[in-house]
């Protein structure tokens, strides 16, 4: 009786070991995914995860990287910088060779600080704050930065033949101010005249005075570096005053669709995006198709595309490096030159991508409508 129970125990132990064996043996490459997956900003992290998981699945079906299967381990930070560091400490004990994350700028900076100490590769798909990669040769990103979008908007306006433009911006937020400064510099260079630059205080609801001043200056277009909720108020008041021009915004304005009841005003909005589900390139079309097949919905949050691209860049670099040595992977990322879902990607001296930008508008029902892809 005793003998039998020992025997059965041994069988059970053997079973457990054999089940765990594929993980214990060094035939998988582990990458870490760190970011906000719950709470107020959870939707952004979840969008990133869907994009990353999709590529990992695809590459495993094709035989993986360096002949090994890829495994991605996710950790939720809840948007918290110290949780991002805890997640890194946990994953670094598990032979993780590279990280995708974090999602928000703040947590990405915290994570970058600890990955920089160890020199392990990190790619954020969505941190737009300039300082995330500063002085950290191992940290990269696959999204563009605010000044980059503002310059692209100025170029787009110049290409459209617009000569006189007005700006309405919020001088209390870094986002709005930063975009305005970059836009001003670039439009001066291109010979687009800024006929009125009106500031508003954060939290204002009345913009009619500024809009009246703008209207009086007779611009051909208005640059509006705002988030959607404020932009919705501004557009309603512009309509009331009869200011009938196009409004150009950056990525922050994309959620305006949630804040307007009368969707027809949205046809006046043109904005920059990291990706468009209507992008024409073959790789982008295939991505949208595969995403829809996998999740039963379109990748409407652009960070699914930049997340997918972060995985593409990281895994391609591991393949190119030929090993999982941190230094070799970082060098390979630095040398990246490939066509990804959100356009062509190479990295500049500051590890920011030089990449394509997508201009979008809305149709009368508030659906995103693709205008143009501008390649670097």
């Amino acid at each position: 009786m005793k003998k039998r129970s020992i025997l059965s125990m041994l069988v059970v132990i053997a079973l457990i070991i054999s089940a765990a064996l594929p993980v214990l043996a060094e035939d998988v490459i582990k990458i870490g995914g760190i970011g906000v997956l719950s709470g107020k900003y959870g939707m952004y992290g979840l969008a990133v995860r869907e994009g990353v998981d999709l590529y990992v699945k695809q590459i495993n079906e094709k035989g993986g990287v360096l002949g090994k299967q890829v495994q991605i381990l996710w950790e939720d930070t809840q948007g918290n910088a110290s949780e991002a560091i805890n997640a890194y400490l946990k994953l670094s004990d598990m032979d993780v060779v590279g990280y995708i994350g974090a999602v928000l700028s703040g947590e990405s900076k915290a994570l970058a600080e600890v990955t920089a100490e160890d020199g392990v590769p990190q790619i954020s798909p969505s941190a737009t704050d300039y300082d995330v990669t500063t002085g950290r040769p191992n940290v990269f990103r696959t999204c563009f930065l605010d000044p980059f979008q503002a310059k692209a908007v100025a170029e787009y306006m110049a290409a459209e033949g617009i000569k006189k433009v007005a700006v309405l911006y919020d001088n209390a937020t870094d986002y709005s101010n930063g975009l305005y400064e970059a836009f001003k510099a670039k439009s001066e260079e291109l010979g687009v005249e800024i006929v009125a630059a009106e500031a508003a205080a954060y939290g204002d609801t009345d913009y009619k005075t500024q809009l009246t001043t703008i209207q009086n200056a007779k611009p051909e277009a208005v640059f509006l570096p705002y988030y959607g909720a404020d932009a919705a108020l501004i557009l309603a008041q512009a309509k009331e005053l009869g200011l009938d021009v196009n409004f150009y915004g950056a990525d922050g304005i994309a959620d305006i669709v949630d804040y307007v009841a009368d969707k027809s005003v949205l046809t006046k909005v043109v904005y920059t995006d990291h990706f468009s589900t209507d992008a024409q390139s073959e790789i982008a079309v295939n991505f949208v198709k595969a995403f829809e097949a996998e999740y039963g919905k379109a990748p409407t949050i652009s960070f699914s595309a930049t997340g997918y691209d972060a995985a593409v860049v990281l895994l391609a670099a591991i393949e190119a490096a030929g090993s999982t040595d941190a230094k070799a992977i970082v060098d390979a990322i630095k040398a990246t030159n490939l066509t990804a879902v959100s356009g062509n990607i190479t990295f500049d001296d500051h590890n920011d991508p030089i990449k394509s930008i997508f201009f979008q508008t809305f149709d009368g029902e508030g659906n995103k409508f693709f205008l143009k892809q501008v390649d670097p």
């Binding site: 005075t209 001043t213 009086n216 919705a232 009869g242 307007v260 009368d262």
Partner: protein, 292 residues
């Protein structure tokens, strides 16, 4: 010149909304000497009511306006009966703190029910702006200024002419004596709250037509501005609230247009301080000597 007139019209638009809300502050203060800080949040209650009626139930704008007024009146009367009446004979600071508490309660309840995201207010009037020699007036502005002016005249007429109005004035002058004269002071106070909140209900609708975003804290800033308008004009005096509202709106608009877009609040508060230094009772306030 046209630009100046257009900016003046913008100022009158904002000012008439401030004036309409300021009436509620001034009436309540006149009669119970209470600064009803929850008054701004009544606007928020009216706005959410209108959004629900328009968007969820899909009914027409006049019904939504009526619903906003009715719900605001119910809230106002309930707040008065539950929160303020039991404290009527306690020190004034207790009622003041209660008013702040009620304001927080309303804001946080709305946050819990509707969430922090602003909700869009649908376009109820889609009429092109009226153009006259380069000056243009939007229809919403015209409607807002018109409705506010008519309501203020009606209110002034009611307070001066009607019996209930007379009771209000008596109660505001001397509460105990009014009671001795056979005036039902409780009913009069409730009526005052009801009228103030009805005006706030109309104000909320006009506010949302101009600024179509409804959020839990939307009432606090216009409420504060309206309170300042009431103080500026002379708190407790109905024409004073009107004047104060218009002065504030025009000052804000002209500051933004000609001095600095971000300094408008500083200028407006500066005007308030100046007026109070010169004439502590406000623009239309009467100096009353304390009888010994």
């Amino acid at each position: 010149m046209n630009l100046f007139l257009n900016q003046l019209i913008n100022g009158l638009h904002v000012g008439s909304i401030y004036a309409l809300i300021a009436l509620g502050y001034t009436m309540v203060y006149g009669i119970v000497k209470l600064i009803n800080f929850a008054h701004g949040d009544i606007i928020m209650v009216g706005a959410y009511t209108a959004v629900i009626v328009l968007m969820t139930l899909g009914w027409s704008a006049p019904v939504a306006l009526l619903a906003a007024v009715v719900v605001c009146v119910i809230f106002g009367v309930l707040i008065e009966r539950i929160a303020y009446k039991p404290l009527r004979n306690s020190p004034r600071i207790s009622s003041l703190i209660t008013a702040i508490g009620v304001s927080m309660l309303l804001q946080n309840a709305a946050l819990l029910i509707f969430g922090a995201q602003p909700q869009p207010f649908p376009t109820v009037l889609n009429i092109e702006p009226i153009k006259l020699n380069g000056i243009q007036i939007s229809f919403v502005t015209l409607l807002t200024v018109g409705i506010s002016a008519v309501l203020m005249i009606l209110l002034q007429g009611f307070v001066i002419g009607s019996k209930a109005g007379k009771a209000m004035r008596a109660a505001s002058e001397d509460y105990t004596t009014a009671q001795l004269m056979g005036i039902n002071v409780n009913t009069t106070i409730t009526l005052t709250f009801a009228i103030g909140c009805a005006l706030a209900g109309i104000g909320s609708f006009l506010f949302c037509m101009a600024y179509p975003a409804v959020s839990p804290t939307m009432g606090s800033l216009p409420g504060l501005k309206a309170f300042i308008a009431a103080v500026l004009g002379g708190i407790g005096i109905i024409p004073g609230a009107m004047l104060g509202g218009f002065v504030m709106g025009v000052a804000e608009s002209l500051t933004k247009a000609y001095i600095s877009t971000t300094m408008s609040d500083a200028v407006v508060y500066g005007i308030l301080i100046l007026v109070l230094l010169v004439k502590p009772t406000g623009l239309l306030g009467k100096t009353t000597s304390e009888k010994v």
